[in-house]
């Protein structure tokens, strides 16, 4: 019948009107800023720098590789490298950013900087209530404003943060395992040349004993020398292991003397 | 001839003059509306309530709108260039206007002698008008109704024919 639809519609609207006073799910308004809807876990607004531990300068993960600065589409990141170095999470000495500015008014929240960072140093924050009355400097965040702790990262993106932490812990464990094995090999190597010095087979002078070792070291691992003792011990360990299964009761002393020799020999070649 | 009468009469005459003297055609139509309103107020001043309100309802509410629609739908509202207010045949127009004014003035002055004084004017109520329309004047009423219906149907047919003809 004509008009029936109108009456049904009026009844529906009246139900809405009355229901909005009574039941919560009819009234879907969220009275911001007194009430807030929690953001989703994958929400992203603007980047921040993660630091481990309690000291933001010491624990900053960023090594100023400038990949995010180059990849940022609107070029809102500005990095200046430092002159000195500080140890990173595995203990290796890395440079760090002396200046890391992000102009948040330019940032378009594309997350590319997060995707390309190899050091899990920059992540997306979820805070959006950043309005300020300072037109020019108010939205330019410097290093200190950007650095937020790993606990904060865990709070806003729990699953991501756990994943990242697991990965970093794994890498750290690998590096530590390598270091331990290198240390063990270096200890064994130190014992071996000492044994070989006393043994009549290898009774040449230390430089001579060092020379084939150094030659083998050079042949087996012609790699660039690093300043760490662990890496030198690594090379010394690999050299005898590669060609033959010589018993190598290593001792720490001859590899140390062999190292500068091996170094001088390789650099000589 | 009270002060109110002179005021309303001045308004009506001003509206009428503006309706012929203004350049923009829609302005002229609006000035005509003012003249209609002045006429309605004169009717009301003479205590002819029905005539006054019917004047507003019909003339301002319908005829003025009709005039404006006709202007807007048939020609552009831009002022024609180069044409002055007076047309080329203004002499003949002046003569005819003077003749009409003379006839009406003579009629008014002739009947002025027979008019009763202001205090004796009978007040006509709407009921009396209704009774007269349904009693004494029912034939003119029906003929006018037929005429208006014919005009309405004719307008619809003319409009429809235009659309069919244009196709």
């Amino acid at each position: 019948m004509l008009g029936e639809g109108i009456l049904k519609g009026l009844a529906e609207t009246a139900k809405n009107f009355a229901g909005s006073f009574v039941s919560e799910d009819r009234l879907t308004t969220v009275e911001y800023p007194e009430q807030r809807i929690p953001t989703a876990e994958a929400a992203r607004v603007f980047p921040f720098l993660v630091y481990d531990g309690t000291d933001w300068e010491k624990g900053l993960r960023c090594v100023a590789c400038q990949i995010c600065e180059k990849e940022c589409p609107p070029k809102c990141i500005y990095i200046e490298k430092s002159k000195d170095k500080k140890p990173d999470y595995v203990g290796k000495m890395q440079i760090y950013p002396a200046r890391f500015d992000i102009d948040v008014s330019v940032c378009m929240s594309c997350q590319i900087c997060v995707e390309v960072c190899p050091f899990e140093a920059i992540k997306m924050d979820t805070e959006f209530e950043l309005s300020t009355s300072d037109r020019f400097g108010g939205l330019l965040f410097d290093r200190e404003q950007l650095a937020k702790s790993n606990e904060h990262y865990h709070k806003i993106h729990p699953t991501e943060a756990s994943e990242v932490d697991a990965r970093l812990a794994e890498e750290k464990a690998k590096v530590e395992a390598k270091a331990k094995a290198a240390a063990a090999a270096a200890a064994a190597k130190a014992a071996a040349p000492a044994a070989s010095v006393t043994a009549p087979v290898k009774s040449e002078s230390t430089p001579a004993a060092g020379a084939p070792k150094a030659a083998e070291a050079a042949a087996a691992k012609p790699m660039a020398q690093t300043t760490t003792a662990a890496k030198a011990a690594d090379a010394a360990l690999n050299a005898p292991a590669a060609p033959s299964g010589k018993p190598a009761p290593a001792s720490t002393e001859p590899p140390k003397t062999a190292a500068p020799d091996a170094g001088s020999k390789t650099s000589g070649e | 001839m009270s002060f109110v009468f002179w005021l309303v009469a001045a308004l009506t005459v001003a509206g009428g003059l503006a309706a012929v003297l203004l350049k923009n055609l829609v302005h002229c139509a609006l000035a005509l509306t003012v003249a209609f309103a002045g006429l309605a107020m004169l009717f009301l001043q003479l205590d002819a309530q029905f005539a006054g309100f019917a004047q507003i309802l019909v003339y301002i509410g319908a005829v003025a709108i009709l005039v404006v629609f006709a202007i807007l739908l048939t020609r552009s509202s831009e002022t024609p260039k180069g044409a002055g207010i007076f047309s080329r045949t203004w002499g003949a127009g002046l003569v005819i206007a003077a003749a009409v004014f003379a006839v009406i003035g003579w009629a008014v002055l002739q009947s002025g002698a027979g008019l009763p004084h202001e205090t004796g004017v009978p007040s006509v109520s709407v009921q009396q008008i209704g009774n007269a329309l349904m009693g004494r004047y029912v034939l003119p009423l029906e003929i006018v109704a037929l005429l208006l219906t014919a005009a309405l149907i004719g307008a619809v047919i003319v409009a429809m024919h235009e659309k069919d003809g244009a196709k």
């Binding site: 019948m1 004509l2 008009g3 109108i6 519609g9 009026l10 529906e12 609207t13 009246a14 809405n16 009107f17 909005s20 006073f21 009819r26 009234l27 879907t28 308004t29 009275e31 | 923009n24 829609v26 302005h27 609006l30 509306t33 309530q49 029905f50 309100f53 019917a54 507003i56 309802l57 301002i60 509410g61 319908a62 003025a64 709108i65 404006v68 629609f69 807007l72 509202s77 109520s125 709407v126 009921q127 659309k163 244009a166 196709k167």
Partner: protein, 391 residues
């Protein structure tokens, strides 16, 4: 006591007027009445705006404005301050005089309509013999102002909106008048005071309101439809549609002039509700005879605000009608029904008292309504569309 409360405003006016010498008293009384109207109806306008925003919000499952004042009751004041302090932008090509006069004419004409509404016992500003005709004359003058607004902006879209609005108002003017004519016929007078007095009788506690008769109910429904269209209210608000044509005929208005248009529109709503109350709902008379002790003006304003509530309710429910649907509805359905209603009312009068006339008249109206409804709602044949292009 109730007599005093009922005649409160009349007694107040008499007391104030008594301070003046004899021949100034009439004029002073009228001026006081005008001041009363100018004070009460804009307050009701503010209340209506507030009800609309909060009510529409609740109907749409959201809270309306609630920041200004407790529960947002001071929102109209904030709106007023905003309108008054906004910059008044007039387009360069606009016709300045007409652009200025259009909202003025609208508000003047809207206020004039209140002069004849009886707001309570002995509380009408002007008691004329033909007051209903005066009211409709003022309503017809609104169209001129809308046209002026649309044309003077020199904006094609405003002009189009104004044309649509005027066409809509003219076509719904006829059903409005015809449904009121039924009331006039049954009362025998055009005077609104007399119409309310006739409805002020009670039988077994029930009042003699015209809405409680079959032809009165039909006339009320058609009056309501026509009134919604006359004031350009949803679902007939295509001319001022906020998502069509920007804002229709008041696109080019800002600041105070826009506020005047807004005021004029809501005053039109209030005054047409007032007229509907007077004609159909018994004006200032109480619903039941035992409720007579409540002052009459309270009944009148309650009924007016109830009508406003229904208008807001309908706005929140129905989608907008297209222009051709609107016009079809007016000329092809509402107008024939009003004519039929006229005949049924005459039949009612000639059948004399008794229960038979109720049955016969109701039967005729219902049967015709259902049959006409079926033909309107019959599935139209969706053949290939033929387009008419502009020449």
């Amino acid at each position: 006591m109730t007599e005093k409360a009922d005649q409160l405003f009349v007694l107040l006016k008499d007391w104030l007027v008594s301070f003046l010498p004899g021949n100034w008293q009439g004029v002073a009384g009228v001026i006081l009445g005008v001041i009363g109207i100018a004070a009460i109806y804009p307050t009701l306008f503010a209340l209506a705006v507030l009800m609309e925003r909060k009510g529409l919000g609740r109907m749409q499952n959201r809270i309306g404005p609630n920041r200004v004042g407790p529960f947002g009751v001071l929102q109209p004041i904030a709106d007023a301050i905003k309108s008054l302090t906004k910059e008044d932008v007039v387009p360069v090509n606009a016709d300045k005089t007409v652009h200025f006069l259009a909202p003025v004419v609208l508000v003047v004409v809207a206020f004039m309509g209140f002069a004849v509404l009886p707001a309570g016992r002995n509380m009408v500003l002007v008691d004329m013999d033909a007051s209903l005709l005066f009211y409709f004359a003022m309503g017809a003058s609104t169209e001129v102002s809308i046209f002026m607004a649309g044309w003077s902006s020199r904006n094609k879209y405003s002009l189009l909106g104004a044309m649509r609005a005027v066409a809509q108002m003219i076509s719904y003017e006829v059903p409005l008048l015809l449904s009121s004519v039924v009331i006039v016929m049954m009362t025998g007078s055009l005077s609104l005071v007399k119409i309310v007095e006739v409805q002020h009788h009670y039988t077994w506690g029930f009042p003699h309101w015209y809405i409680l008769t079959p032809w009165g109910l039909a006339a009320f429904v058609m009056y309501a439809i026509a009134a919604t269209a006359e004031t350009n209210r949803s679902p007939f608000d295509l001319p001022e549609g906020e998502s069509e044509l920007v804002a229709g005929y008041f696109t080019e208005y800002s600041g105070f002039k826009f506020a005047l248009f807004f005021l004029g529109e809501y005053l039109g709503m209030l005054s047409i509700s007032g007229l509907g109350t007077t004609l159909f709902l018994g004006g200032w008379s109480a619903p039941f005879s035992f409720l007579e002790w409540v002052p009459s003006w309270i009944w009148f304003f309650s009924k007016v605000m109830l009508s406003i509530t229904v208008l807001i309710w309908v706005r929140g429910t129905l989608p907008r009608l297209r222009q051709d649907q609107l016009m079809n509805f007016a000329w092809k359905f509402v107008l024939p029904m009003t004519l039929l209603n006229l005949g049924v009312a005459a039949l009612w009068r000639f059948m004399g008292e008794g229960w038979l006339r109720w049955i016969v008249c109701s039967a005729i109206l219902i049967v015709v309504y259902v049959v006409a409804g079926r033909t309107e709602m019959r599935r139209k044949h969706f053949g290939p569309r033929s387009y008419r292009y502009a020449e």
